[in-house]
Amino acid sequence: MKRLRCIVSIIMLTFLVGCAGMRTENVAVSSYEIAGTVLKSAQQHAAQACTAKILDEQKCNQLKRTYRDARAAYLMAGDTLVIITDATDIVATQHQLSEYQEQVARFTQLSSDLIFWLTQWGVLKDKGGAK
């Protein structure tokens, strides 16, 4: 477990150091890319577990629904981020920002649910064997 924490800490530190030299918009877009990558990774593992019949149909349907909703929230957040990045009107942008916050909150909730179920159902495992 110590090793895992160490690896995660190193990756997060690398990310933060990398972000330090970036423009603020770049930080937002990089974070958006990372969130997409991790959701994609979770989907791939969930899909593999369903294809291999490790999970029953009911659980797979639940995972699919959650992934689709998380993906939809992610895409909407991206569209809003494009508007914010391209904006020149501060008032309009602040309205978009509150929409972005709502979409990110929804995405975070759904992604957390997806990870929780994958962990609960044994798809995500610790290398040491503990769930």
Partner: protein, 55 residues
């Protein structure tokens, strides 16, 4: 996927949330060159396209 990957997923989501203050700052600094904006938008679109549909 193991626990370390799961932790990375959570870290990624947290990173997205942590980006919000950065966006607020970005709103106040909208003098970025058009080329930079175009590059950022292209990256967002690419990230969107990378997420597969799950039938």
């Amino acid at each position: 996927m193991n626990a370390a990957t799961a932790q990375l997923i959570v870290a990624g989501i947290t990173a997205l949330m942590q980006a919000l203050p950065a966006i607020i700052e970005a709103i106040q600094d909208m003098n970025a060159p058009k080329k930079t904006k175009a590059e950022l938008i292209a990256r967002i679109r690419k990230a969107q396209e990378s997420l597969p549909e799950w039938e």
